[in-house]
Assembly symmetry: C2
Homo-oligomer: 366 residues x 2
DNA sequence: ATGAAAGCGCTAACAT
DNA sequence: ATGTTAGCGCTTTCAT
């Protein structure tokens, strides 16, 4: 591939027009409105462009003029090692990417890591050249949301935060799904239940990432809505079955580590050794807990029932009893809502369906 | 959160300046050079901005002026369901994202699916507002590469394509790594080997995605360098051990499906029932093959040795004998090479280290 | 410390 | 079918 040496000064549409002794419009048309000039002239323009090493209209200048960036921004507040490690989050990104690809839009991962200060992250949000944002956030008090809203661009929220006025949202009914799953567990005869969840707020009570019994006040905290809705679903079912929801042992894990589920299981069983069912708010937690239990000779479901949430491939393959949610579809719908918003102009809230999957990890208590 | 109604016409830096009766420069300085004006004036600018709903300088206009986009483009030619399903590819993306995040750059996933026509894809490549590209491609004759090079932006290639003049590359020594792994297999006493690989060229010989014995000519095809280098490594070791490399049974899979490995194993064993070792060019293939074999009562490593490539978490956890490559580091280095290129201005080729991991899936032939 | 003027490279009206 | 004119919103010399 012999690349001719680039000219000292990069070619522009104007320089190309000058070279060809035609107007800039004509060159622009050669790229954007082929029907506006003779095929012959167009050919001449394009070949001269190639000769001059002109790659076509500058995307940034074009964006400025057309007010279209050709990309949507994805803001994920959680650490990268969460988004890229949790299969459910990943499926969501894949779905979103797919819908962007379908309409030729790029997907910009906005640099908003937890290692960056909030002001840095907000700066990144403000600096993103995009036509709209998808916000996939774990907390209702997301620090970047104000900056995003400031930009007056189309925004679609996934799962959280809720109640952002004027903004569309794609989600599932976490509470109802978890309630149905819990009903299944209760029907099997379980009465002492442990619940393993991701952390319930952006802050973490004290030093050390070890899972810990959750403060009841945190459980009611509205910041991590998804988690608390799922907990609420468990309580709903317990109350309906005549159990005291306060007897539920809730353990909170700080991180999405491979070991989180196992450590959480230990914490729950230490707090209440009579637990016969361990329900988890994520499959990764449940799978980790199962591995840990099995390594210690606790059989599932013989000695312990374990359930998850999400329906990730590994969970389904291993027969985990769980709630299957359409993660890919979530991403896809979020993208579609951004690409062609409802004609009404009004924000919509789309609640996608979930399914309780009775697997091989739930059975009667020992 | 009470958002004041956005003014009919969006506020700009100029309108803000007019409102404040100061020059545009001053407003610009308030955002970009806080030391160039009194704290008092700056405060006045910022608060008026907030009142007017001005979110700060428009990123696109700023990019046009400063010639900096604040993002790098990632071009992956493979289908999305590959990039987001293969843990090794994912680790690479995570590493790249991490390095971008560290310098406050966004990561733009350029919409270049296989479903899009090349001209569409080129359009997407040409339309991306980025400061540079990372190309993660499966073939040397990548159709988008010419368009990318046209743009005269910094480019870093990962693994492939090779021999792009003037472009830095991050890779591993696939051939040597596979040779070392094969030496281990041969030392165990295996003589009849099957090799499962991803497809070797962009085109696929005939209809149907079923894995098939690879045409020897395709095996020598240079388009999918990574795959063919790995095959070459196997042959190197065979030749050195006095075996005929032509006796190697090579099976090519079209897709990265969960079933690909199993189907590939069947194809290999059908072609040569005396095979005692199944080497795979990806862990996902090997794990799939193992599951399939086990389901059919073939014990690993008792009746069949299975090896992989990549060192993905599940493989390590399950004790797969494989080559561990630093996928995350690959992404990180690619990003770093883009963010601060070598002072010399010359392209570099970084060959990262790999390690042969002897696991529990390789043993003497039955 | 603040302002005036000149573009960055392009596209969209509106002519011709 | 092609050209003219006017910005998109911003930063950056260079003056004051």
């Amino acid at each position: 591939m012999s690349r001719s040496p680039a000219p000292r000064r990069r070619a522009t549409l104007a320089s190309l027009a000058a070279e060809l002794k035609v107007s800039r419009t004509t060159v622009s048309n050669a790229y954007n409105r082929p029907d506006q000039l003779s095929a012959e002239l167009r050919e001449r323009v394009l070949s001269t462009a190639k000769a001059l090493g002109y790659p076509g209209p500058d995307p940034v200048a074009r964006s400025l003029r057309t007010r279209k960036a050709g990309a949507v921004g994805l803001v994920i507040t959680e650490p990268l090692n969460y988004s890229f490690r949790d299969p459910a989050a990943l499926d969501f990104v894949a779905g979103l990417a797919e819908s962007c690809e379908a309409v030729g839009q790029g997907l910009l991962l906005v640099a908003v890591g937890p290692d960056r200060s909030v002001s840095d992250g907000s700066a990144a949000v403000l600096a993103a050249g995009v036509d709209g944002f998808v916000v996939y956030s774990a907390s209702d008090d997301d620090p970047y949301l104000p900056a995003i809203l400031e930009r007056h661009l189309p925004v679609v929220v996934v799962d959280q935060p809720r109640d952002v006025p004027g903004v569309s949202r794609v989600c599932i009914d976490d509470r109802a799904a978890m309630r149905r799953l819990t009903e299944h567990v209760l029907e099997l005869g379980h009465r002492e239940i442990g619940l393993l969840t991701m952390r319930l707020g952006r802050e973490w009570p004290d030093a050390g990432p070890a899972p810990a019994i959750a403060d009841p006040q945190r459980v009611r905290s509205p910041h991590f809505h998804v988690q608390s809705e799922r907990i609420r679903g468990v309580r709903d079912a317990m109350t309906a079955a005549g159990l005291d929801p306060a007897s539920l042992t809730v353990v909170e894990s700080y991180e999405h580590l491979p070991s989180s589920g196992g450590a959480g299981a230990d914490a729950a069983l230490a707090a209440n050794p009579r637990i016969t069912a361990l329900m988890c708010t994520a499959d990764v937690l449940a799978l980790s807990a199962m591995d840990h239990l099995r390594a210690r000779g606790v059989y599932v479901p013989g000695s312990m029932t374990v359930t998850g949430f999400d329906g990730v491939p590994e969970a389904l393959q291993r027969g985990l009893t769980t709630v299957v949610q359409p993660s890919v579809e979530k991403g896809r719908r979020a993208g579609e809502l951004l690409h062609d918003p409802p004609r009404s102009g009004l924000p919509v809230i789309e609640v996608l369906d979930t399914e309780v999957m009775r697997g091989r990890t739930s059975g009667p208590p020992a």
